[in-house]
Amino acid sequence: MMIAKGPYVPVPMRIEKVTVETEDRSIKTFDLSFIHKEDERAFRYLPGQFAQLSVFGKGEAPFGIASSPTRAGLLQFTISRAGLLTSALHQMEHGDLVGIRGPLGSSFPLQEMEGRDLLVIGGGFAFTTLRSLINYVLERDNRSRFGKLTVVYGARTPGMLLYKGELEQWRQRDDPKLHVTVDAANGDWKGRVGVVPDVVGDVAAAADDAYAVVCGPPAMTRYTLLVLERLHFPPERVVLSLEMKMKCGIGMCGRCNIGSSYVCREGPAFTLAELRRLPPEY
């Protein structure tokens, strides 16, 4: 095989494991490993970044990276079955080959977040890059660089929660301070019931020096931002991650722009202050 050079040429990765995350089987996590060591060494990423995943014959689509860079050699993507490419991907299994291009885009502003308390707020399957961030902060070598870590995570029902095993581990070690909620309980659910913004209002302390990171569906995000404003989080310390249709991932193909910013290049992570300077077109 020739060594590929163009910006559009992916590197091959093998599917090592497929985990069905949700009871409706619509969301799966794919564990990928690099075929070539040099590709693994070159792929240096931080939480919040994304990659273009190729299913050959179907094309390419962008997904936030769900694993933490602190786990060497492993890339994870948690992917909802929605269109042509993701439907094909959901049919794939252990041993199958896919392509990866990246890492792409901006990470969460980790340097600015250092030394501060973190309030991580997620809803639905937008929790993926937040999970990367949480695991990154919890890593032994990184933990002391950040303050208190509080996580609010909600799903429609208990069966739609992602990373159930990990949530249990976090709950047992009591770091992060974890608040899991569902819109509607069923079965033997003993946890919270209620929507994410309400839970944030209940459990979050005043902003002080803290950073808030919010990823979720539009309605959740909108009401959560109101709660954060009430808690006096300045827009410079509220971070969001945007989704857009993308093709190139490197600011050339022209479709993911909001004003003169390309979400694939300047984003996907933006502070609320940055977003307020852009036209409301997303």
Partner: protein, 345 residues
């Protein structure tokens, strides 16, 4: 700048000389459509034309381009990138508006931070010979957007028709290298400088109805929510011809053609005027109607481009004006925006 004069009947000699060592792409009349095609004889080349139907950008940014060929067999993935052209190329007879558009495309595809190697290789392999406009069309407006009928921006060599002779000006080192191999020219004299000035003055005088684009970036920054956008798009049928024929439009799609086992990944021209361009897999679309798409097209050219690159992303070739099936004229649109902002103030 080195300049020489070439007698009109010697142009075919120059072209034949270039054909010796280069692949030459030049305007030809292809069954009524004027387009840049590879030529193998000076006879095919059309030099008394207004402008080509299709812009020449396809030589550097092809309408369809294979990014790589893939094959996935017995657990092995092989990816093969296309080989760049081996022979040096000359793009001959490009109008100054289109030559200037190359410098805009360079900003997108060969920027400081991110570069498309295939695009850059094609640019570097090609010498651009511009052809000044001595008779602009009624739809031309390059002088309103920072260009000019005798502008050398984007050309390596600029050829200007002075009546009996062509004035051949060397613009870049690459242009100088190209002209080294060409004989039969005499040194340009004082008189040719005067004749060039006259040609420029008469060409510039031929432009009608200048549009005021000064300060357009700032005006558009204040117009996001303006009711102007509600009506503007109403007669647009979303055909996308304005973007396909635009020399600065650079949007593209990436799709696979083939099976799971073997095929090609293609990069194809796309258009912001199409609804699927921005539609998410979930069905959500940040630009759901013609209103948002027209606003995007205009804002991209005259606001976002200026914010990122310091000048508007339009070269004033007028192709979108000529070819729009419902006569939406970008010049009128810009003038309306101009008068709208006057009313507000």
């Amino acid at each position: 700048m080195r300049a020489v004069l070439l007698a009109k009947d010697q142009m075919s000699v120059l072209l034949e000389a270039l054909l010796q060592d280069h692949e030459v792409f030049a305007p030809v009349n292809d069954d009524g459509v004027i387009a840049f095609r590879q030529v193998n004889s000076s006879q095919q080349v059309l030099l008394d034309y207004h402008n080509s139907t299709l812009p020449p950008k396809g030589l550097f940014f092809p309408q369809t381009e294979a990014l790589f060929v893939y094959s996935l067999e017995r657990g092995q993935l092989a990816l093969e990138e296309p080989q760049p052209a081996s022979r040096a190329q000359v793009l001959f007879g490009v109008r100054p508006c289109d030559a200037r558009s190359f410098t805009f495309l360079d900003g997108v595809f060969a920027g400081a931070n991110q570069c498309d190697g295939c695009y850059l290789a094609r640019r570097e392999n090609c010498t651009v010979v511009g052809l000044s406009c001595t008779m602009p069309k009624a739809t031309c407006f390059c002088t309103s957007v920072g260009g000019g009928p005798l502008s050398a921006t984007g050309s390596d060599v600029l050829v200007t028709d002075l009546g009996t002779d062509y004035l051949v000006e060397v613009v870049t080192d690459k242009g100088a290298l190209l002209m080294e191999s060409v004989g039969g020219c005499r040194k340009a004299d004082e008189d040719s400088v005067r004749r060039r000035r006259e040609a420029q003055a008469s060409a510039e005088a031929a432009f009608r109805g200048a549009i005021r684009t000064e300060g357009m970036e700032r005006r558009l920054q204040e117009m996001w929510d303006d009711p102007f956008w509600d009506r503007l798009h109403e007669k647009c049928i979303g055909c996308g011809v304005c973007t396909y024929l635009c020399p600065t439009c650079h949007c593209f799609d990436i799709v696979d053609e083939g099976s799971e086992q073997r095929g090609r990944r293609l990069k194809l021209w796309d258009s912001c005027m199409f609804p699927l361009f921005t539609q998410h897999a979930s069905g959500h679309n940040p630009r759901p109607t013609g209103k948002e798409r027209w606003r995007q097209r205009l804002m991209h050219k005259f606001r976002y481009w200026a914010e990122s690159h310091g000048e508007a992303g339009c070269v004033g070739c007028g192709r979108c004006v000529v070819n729009c099936p419902v006569n939406l004229d970008i010049r009128q649109v810009l003038n309306e925006i101009e008068s709208l902002s006057k009313r507000v103030q």
